[in-house]
């Protein structure tokens, strides 16, 4: 069962991907509005809005990853069992890639909606700040030598606790001109299934990648230990 988990997750994600593509392009309506005077609202996005579904799905994964990394790092500090450290590190590694997708698609969205590549829209800002914490975590892991696990665990825990503060800070700081508030709240009901299917799909894909990453970390460690044993026994040189 255990080594079938990744193929199963990948298969589910593949199905979800096809379904979400169908939902996004054939079921979910185009985004446009008529304002009160009967004219087409100038801020309508039409086909450009389609990127929203994958953008939001990746952003959800970013939050999930910060939470997983924070909790498993806390457990790691308490128990010092390497497997919790592996979970945190794998989740962050994969989430950095997902975060890059969030920022890239968010930037494309900003260009389409407001004709600028970046406009500090609250949710995009928050994704950027979370992503910076995750990138910092990866740098720490890479360059902090033997204490990397502890330092990185601390960063993951502090980062998770900082999320509500980032949320409150970004909410107060929102730029009035962006008009970007309430993207999810004002989503037309017909658009919701596509969004939630995409969210679920990318969580499955994320889980598959994280588990693979954990397995490879473990394999690396086992290989290192075997090599050391081989050297000790004189079988290897």
């Amino acid at each position: 069962m255990k080594n079938k988990l990744v193929p199963i997750l990948c298969a589910l994600a593949a199905i979800g991907f096809v379904v979400s593509i169908y939902e996004v392009f054939f079921v979910a309506p185009l985004e446009w509005e008529i304002d009160q005077s009967g004219h087409l609202n100038g801020s309508s996005l039409f086909f450009n809005q389609k990127i929203f579904y994958f953008h939001v799905a990746h952003a959800f994964v970013l939050f999930t990853a910060v939470f997983i990394a924070g909790v498993s790092s806390a457990v790691y500090l308490k128990t010092r069992a390497a497997r919790y450290d592996d979970i945190a590190s794998a989740a962050v590694d994969v989430a950095v890639a997902f975060g890059a997708v969030v920022l890239a698609t968010g930037s494309i969205w900003a260009k389409a909606a407001w004709d600028v590549w970046w406009n500090w829209e609250p949710r995009l800002t928050m994704s950027l700040l979370l992503w910076l914490i995750l990138v910092g975590y990866v740098l720490v892991r890479r360059f902090a030598g033997p204490s990397a696990d502890r330092v990185a665990a601390g960063m993951a825990i502090f980062g998770m606790v900082g999320v509500p503060f980032i949320y409150a800070m970004v909410g107060q700081d929102s730029h009035p001109a962006s008009g970007g508030n309430g993207v999810v709240a004002t989503l037309q009901p017909a658009m919701r299934p596509a969004m939630w299917i995409a969210v679920a799909t990318f969580h499955l894909w994320f889980a598959a990648l994280v588990i693979t990453r954990i397995q490879s970390t473990r394999a690396e460690r086992e290989l290192r230990e075997l090599r050391e044993r081989g050297l000790d026994l004189g079988v290897l040189s």
Partner: protein, 234 residues
Amino acid sequence: MSDAKPPAGSMLRHALRIAWKDLRIEVRSKEIFATMAFFGALLAVIDSFAFPRDLAAVRGAAPGMLWVALAFTGTIALGRAFDRERENDTMRALLLAPVPRLAVFLGKAAAMAVLVLAVAAIVAPLLAVFLGAPLFEYPLQLALTVVLGAIGIAVIGSVFAATLLKVRSRDVLLPVILYPLLIPLFVAGTKSTAALVAAQPNLEAAAYWTQFLGIYDAAFLVLSLWTFESLVIE
């Protein structure tokens, strides 16, 4: 070290003693304060040339200059203050001392907060003089904001500076860790200061961001007390 919980009063006394030790070293050598104050003053001079000097621009930019100076000098001071404990492996002695480890942490953080505040006391007047920034129209509110900011920098900074003590690349890694985590603090500090410096000062906004800083400090102080021991001990 025994696991028996010492009374809180003695813990604070130990913390004060450790803070006093750090500050006394600093008063005698003046190494960190002198270099940090000079660095902060240089930043104020560079800012004066790098940014426009008309009052409208200064009102917008001065809060940022103040908080950037605190961020820069704070991280360098943290690195140096903890290097001192590394040189003769005195951090190990401190951690082995028959006082609660939390007292060690609180003492180090308190001394750091005092140092950051001392640098702020140099940089803020300099910005006011060089750029004519109206920073001191609400001195009490400004002081409260800066004190809360310094506490936050000192608390989170002390946790990670202590954790990085044995890491070779600690000087580059400290800002890599601290700045992403401290962004809410810097934003809140800048917003609060900006509300006080604006052409139409907004005391309500300043109070909001000051409260934000207070809650931020409290949350991370609790978290630091909770994690310090397991982060520092190998």
